[in-house]
């Protein structure tokens, strides 16, 4: 891996920013250069949330991801808005529970993950985001259990330590797809 430009997007409350932060922390633990930049504008108040995450072997220049290598789309407006921006040969992971249409592009790799349905079936509350994270890690060949534990310790505060187990379960579920 040299540089991975990722864009996470969905509704507020789906844990978009959390998922991005997890990936950034995982990169930091693995001695990569990372940046995480959330959308904070009026669109955030309107219900959509997105964040740019860059994980790289070299220092990160601009932290803004306009053309992602990987797009995580957790709702239809996100796919509509960012599908065309993905670089040719890039990857789109879509939550197919909430996005009924198919990706129109034929020059990108697409994974449809019914993450919201899976979270509900497995009593994982609103952890569809981490199911997608599991799928993402597997597809970029970056899945290892030690790495997961260390990164989760960073993003889950001590007060919510009991949430670590379910997050792990969600990630594993995604990685098994």
């Amino acid at each position: 891996m040299s540089t991975k430009n990722m864009l996470f997007s969905g509704f507020g409350g789906q844990g978009i920013l959390f998922a991005g932060k997890f990936i950034a922390y995982k990169g930091l633990i693995e001695d990569k250069q990372v940046s995480w930049l959330p959308s904070y504008g009026p669109e955030m108040r309107g219900g959509t949330a997105s964040c740019s995450v860059i994980v790289s072997d070299t220092p990160v220049g601009s932290p803004i991801v306009s053309n992602p290598d990987i797009l995580i789309a957790m709702n239809l407006p996100s796919l509509d808005r960012f599908e065309d921006a993905v670089v040719p040969g890039g990857m789109i992971i879509a939550d197919s529970t909430l996005i009924e249409r198919k990706v129109k592009r034929d020059d990108v790799t697409v994974f449809y993950v019914p993450a919201t349905q899976m979270a509900s079936d497995n009593k994982l509350g609103n952890l569809a985001n981490m199911i997608i994270v599991g799928k993402l890690l597997k597809e970029i060949g970056d899945y290892s259990e030690e790495g997961l534990n260390a990164a989760l310790d960073k993003v889950i505060s001590a007060r919510h330590a009991d949430m670590k187990e379910v997050n792990l379960k969600a990630i594993k579920l995604g990685a098994e797809l």
Binding site: K21, E30, W36, P38, Y40, G61, S62, P63
Partner: protein
């Protein structure tokens, strides 16, 4: 893994201020810098410090004046429209030769403007911000690590030269998270024999004031202040050069614009265009020397800014108009894409040879 943690730029400023010994923070919330106030609200009570949400920005800056008069490290933070409200206070701080730290996490203007990142307060910051002849030391971080380091540096410079230091950031720098090491080197604050800390019936009263009705005396104060500014220009100018030594086209950019520009420089180099970047870290004093030196070999300069072209005037002055300087910009909360900057480079280069 290193001892680095992920932090938002705004949080890094707040934590660095505490590490630098600041125990007094006064502010009023405004996007995109509210995390600074929120962090201070959480931390200050736990360490015996003061966090106070003032009734307005004007009140906050005058509270800063009060604590600065008593010789303690003090700060306030805001975003563009809020900093305009502080303008009077900035001038009074300068007129009273008081050290303080002000943070401006800029957003698009003018007026109430928007809440997206901008660099359109360059003129306001580098030319003082309020009425009268004075400067602030203006520091422009381009990473979360620098947000922390320049905050400490800002307090030190403010104390050393008895003046206001400003961190001039933007919404992106405030909101983004990056790895940061908080193992910061802090020098102890100097003695402040001028502070109004009570005479203990043992010395004359100290007076902190910006009123001076005798013009000869006020002129003398201004002359002395500018003598001090000259020392700062000589000793405290900071900048970063990136691939400048053999560059035909030299970009000038600070903060987030510099990061975008770095990407563009790398892309241009891949195409065989010798591009480079000078990144001012102090906007006042402006780093004139590297621009003057680069004008000896560069064919042209491009000022990359998130405004309608403000720093470009300092670039033209610093290069003594020896080479053409063009502007590559977005405004109103928009950020130039590396491709836009690359296109500017190609255009100024007269195409790709």
């Amino acid at each position: 893994m290193s001892d680095k943690i992920l932090m938002k730029g705004n949080e890094a400023i707040a934590e660095a201020a505490i590490i630098a010994g600041c125990r007094h923070y006064f502010g009023y919330p405004i996007t995109p810098q509210t995390e600074i106030a929120a962090y201070m609200a959480k931390k200050m009570p736990k360490i015996g410090g003061t966090f106070l949400q003032a009734e307005s920005e004007i009140a906050a800056i005058n509270m800063v004046y009060g604590v600065a008069s008593a010789g303690k490290r003090v700060m306030t933070s805001s975003s563009s429209p809020g900093v305009s409200l502080k303008g009077e206070g900035l001038s009074y701080l300068a007129g009273s030769d008081l050290p303080s730290l002000i943070v401006n996490v800029q957003r698009g203007g003018p007026g109430l403007g928007g809440i997206q990142p901008s660099q359109s307060d360059y003129f306001q910051s580098t030319r003082g911000g309020g009425h009268g002849d004075y400067h602030m030391i203006v520091l422009a971080p381009a990473s979360v690590q620098e947000m922390a380091e320049l905050t400490v540096k800002g307090f030190e410079l403010a104390d050393t030269y008895r003046m206001t230091a400003m961190i001039l950031a933007d919404g992106t720098m405030g909101q983004m998270m990056e790895p940061v090491s908080l193992d910061l080197d802090v020098k102890p604050a100097p003695e402040k024999p001028w502070a109004t800390t009570g005479t203990g019936m043992a010395r004359e009263h100290n007076i902190v004031n910006s009123l001076s009705l005798v013009p000869e005396e006020l002129e003398e104060l201004n002359f002395k202040r500018y003598d001090r500014y000259k020392v700062i220009e000589e000793n405290e100018t900071m900048y970063e050069e990136y691939k400048v030594e053999d560059a035909d086209i030299v970009l000038a950019a600070f903060g987030i614009a510099a990061r975008v520009s770095k990407n563009a420089v790398d892309e241009a180099r891949k195409m065989g265009i010798k591009a480079g970047l000078i990144r001012p870290i102090t906007l006042w004093p402006f780093p004139k020397a590297p621009f003057k030196a680069a004008a000896e070999h560069a064919k042209a300069f491009i000022s990359v800014e998130l405004n309608m072209g403000q720093m470009i005037e300092d670039v033209i002055l610093a290069t003594e108009s020896k080479r053409p300087v063009t502007l590559c910009n977005r405004a109103g909360g928009m950020i130039p894409d590396p491709k836009q900057v690359l296109n500017s480079i190609i255009e100024v280069n007269g195409g790709i040879q």
